[in-house]
């Protein structure tokens, strides 16, 4: 069959989103954070509904109430753990419990987010099990320590395979079919950039650092510290910059790999053509614009990034759009609306 390409289009504008964002922010602050659950829904709705493939749009169906209850549970759980952690025996129990609870929470969160997302009025779903999440998110990262992190690409691939491979749109399953070589490419790019940025920013501070390493007691010598203040600050910023920039590059490479290797049942596939320099440029200038305007350019930055990513993404359909739609069978029942509020736990919460 012939392939047909459908670009992803993003129709949102910075003007429009600015209004939504500032009203969200104002209401969230005035309600001491409670409205932020509804604000999240409204933001997601704006971005999803403005994203289109072949004339059909995405949508976000969670309610503010669901998100709020999920957040309250997480905050209460966090406080309970903090209190329990003060009792030595309870601490051990909490740590063991975490091994079971964390993957369980993660699966519920992935499932919730999938089920409240739709494209063309067909809901996504997530079929992963807690055991699998335990393996890829806790056990493998622990084992990789013994390989001095050299096997990290295998762990990363296993994670993505787990997360993507258990998703479906309606009943059409997604699969990830990526070779390990690509993941090692991203991994070495990360390491290389860390080393280069570190070398550039540490080069002038090197004598000072070497002196410190050879005689750690210099840390107590105030004259030494005072004299080399700027170099030490520069080295400190350099270390942070190295990891931030390498992280951005890694994210861009991995995105291209993942989209390129994802298949949707029926021989349909995705493609991402993000350019690394362009992605780094947008990330850095976005951050700069936000800082210089005390946050007021945040909506502009988010829309700019969403538009760039949409522009660099396409769906390659096996046949024409009708073949693709015909392959997607919605799951039956009043799907998605009947799920309990506990499903709204958002593990991405930066508490």
């Amino acid at each position: 069959m012939d392939k047909t390409q459908f670009p992803v289009k993003f129709h949102g504008t910075a003007r429009e989103y600015f209004g939504i964002w500032i009203v969200n922010l104002l209401l969230s602050i005035v309600t001491l954070g409670i409205y932020s659950a509804w604000a999240k829904v409204r933001t997601n709705k704006y971005f999803y509904q403005n994203t289109e493939i072949g004339g059909r749009r995405f949508d976000y169906h969670a309610t503010g109430g669901q998100i709020l209850i999920g957040r309250i549970i997480i905050v209460l759980g966090f406080i309970a753990v903090q209190i329990l952690a003060l009792v030595p025996i309870a601490l051990a129990v909490v740590m063991v419990a975490f091994i079971f609870v964390f993957p369980w929470l993660l699966v519920r969160s992935l499932r919730f987010n999938a089920r409240v997302t739709s494209w063309s009025n067909v809901r996504f779903n997530f079929h992963g099990k807690t055991g699998g999440a335990f393996l890829v998110y806790l056990l493998y990262p622990f084992l990789v320590i013994f390989t001095l992190f050299l096997a990290w690409p295998f762990v990363d691939r296993a994670r993505r395979k787990y997360a993507i491979g258990h998703h479906s749109l309606g009943q059409s399953r997604f699969t990830l079919d990526a070779g390990i070589g690509q993941f090692y490419g991203a991994f070495f790019a990360f390491l290389g950039i860390v080393l280069i940025v570190l070398a550039l920013s540490l080069a002038s501070a090197l004598p000072v650092l070497l002196a410190l390493v050879s005689d750690i007691r210099l840390l107590e010598n105030d004259a030494f510290l005072l004299g080399n203040m700027m170099l030490i600050v520069q080295a400190y910023i350099g270390v942070i910059a190295a990891f931030v920039i390498a992280g951005i590059v890694y994210a861009a490479i991995i995105r291209n790999i993942l989209f390129g290797a994802t298949w949707i049942e029926g021989g349909h596939r995705l493609r991402s053509t993000v350019s690394i320099p362009r992605y780094v440029w947008i990330s850095l200038t976005n951050a700069l614009a936000i800082i210089l305007t005390l946050g007021l350019m945040l909506p502009w930055a988010k829309v700019r990034m969403a538009r760039y990513l949409a522009d660099q993404t396409e769906v390659i359909v096996n046949g024409d759009l009708d073949d693709f739609i015909g392959d997607i069978i919605p799951e039956g029942g009043a799907f998605g609306d009947a799920y309990t509020d506990l499903e709204a736990i958002d593990v991405g919460l930066p508490v």
Partner: protein, 328 residues
């Protein structure tokens, strides 16, 4: 997906396709309208779960009876009055940051039981003892003398200030002349600090400063404040991207340091007050700072990057306060 038209008559609706065939019909009240958002196509959910999508905003506005939702959408429109919203948001953010956060922190500190804080002390001290501190080498007589001075200071506390039982511990270690207080009332002096001081008034000033941290519950406040800021920023800003996240993290650290410097001044003021009340000479603190400076023990960090304000600023504040003390 088919092209369709939605017709309405009073109380009724009909959806027809290209060939004028009726695909759905029923009671108007069964239609579920969504809150409009930006200029994205509007969605109407039909009773059978099918979705009717249209960009005819005006026609749907006439149909949709929900006023609250329209109010939200109207408020979000890009109009000059958004400038007012920006100003209001900045004001609200400032009020929350300046007063709301302090209120929350005070409430959290107030409900924290003293036993809870004492457990934090015991565990922190146990960790310090394992990784960094050694037992004291001060002789028993010296320890007893310092303990007596400490009790004298503690007994000078007013009833409202004596909310946490205090204890004094001695340790030696590679941290130089140092003293610190933990939230549960544990004050630690290093041997180097005791040896550095020539007279009891100097050590009394240091102990008074540390008791001030406990009385004002500074460490608890810092813990709760850091937690509160992280939660608020997480809820309000949402995802900000990797670059901004790193910057926010470091910025938060700098703000935290400013907060810590404020606490040092507060503890200094408290120390002047309590040493005076307990019959020590508050000038001992000034002598202590002069001594530190003479020995070259100054903070190498510029003041914005330090937990403590520079010595000269602290000495100036202490001097001004002593000058204003009532004669005993």
């Amino acid at each position: 997906m088919i092209d369709a038209v939605l017709y309405t008559a009073p109380g009724q609706f009909t959806v027809t396709d290209d060939s004028e065939t009726v695909r759905a019909s029923g009671d108007l009240a069964q239609l579920r309208f969504e809150t409009p958002i930006g200029r994205a196509p509007r969605r109407v959910t039909l009773p059978d779960g099918a979705l009717f999508e249209t960009s005819e905003h005006a026609a749907l506005d006439a149909l949709n009876p929900s006023r609250g939702a329209k109010g939200l959408h109207g408020a979000e429109a890009f109009r000059p009055r958004l400038i007012g919203f920006v100003a209001l948001t900045l004001l609200a953010a400032f009020v929350v940051w300046r007063y709301g956060l302090a209120l929350l922190v005070s409430a959290a500190v107030w409900i924290t039981p003293p036993q809870f804080a004492r457990v934090i002390d015991d565990q922190t001290l146990a960790v310090f003892d394992r990784v960094m501190l050694q037992p004291t080498t001060l002789d028993a007589a010296e320890q007893a003398r310092l303990q007596a001075d400490f009790v004298r200071l503690a007994e000078a506390l007013a009833a409202s200030e004596a909310h946490t039982p205090l204890r004094l511990e001695f340790r030696s270690g590679p941290i130089g002349p140092n003293a610190f207080a933990m939230p549960g009332g544990t004050v630690i002096l290093t041997d180097d600090l005791v040896r550095l001081a020539d007279d009891p008034d100097m050590v009394a000033g240091v102990m008074g400063h540390e008791i001030g941290h406990v009385t004002h519950r500074h460490s608890l406040r810092q813990i709760y404040r850091a937690l509160g800021i992280a939660t608020l920023v997480g809820f309000l800003a949402g995802e900000t991207g990797p670059v901004l996240e790193a910057i926010l993290l470091e910025g938060n650290l700098l703000l935290q340091l400013a907060y810590s410097r404020e606490h040092e001044f507060e503890a200094d003021a408290f120390a002047v007050e309590i040493t005076h009340r307990a019959g020590f000479d508050p000038e001992g603190m000034i002598r202590f700072f002069e001594h530190l400076t003479e020995m070259g023990l100054v903070d190498p960090m510029p003041s914005w990057g330090s937990t403590h304000p520079p010595h000269d600023e602290r000495v100036a504040a202490i001097r001004a306060q002593i000058a204003a003390l009532p004669a005993r």
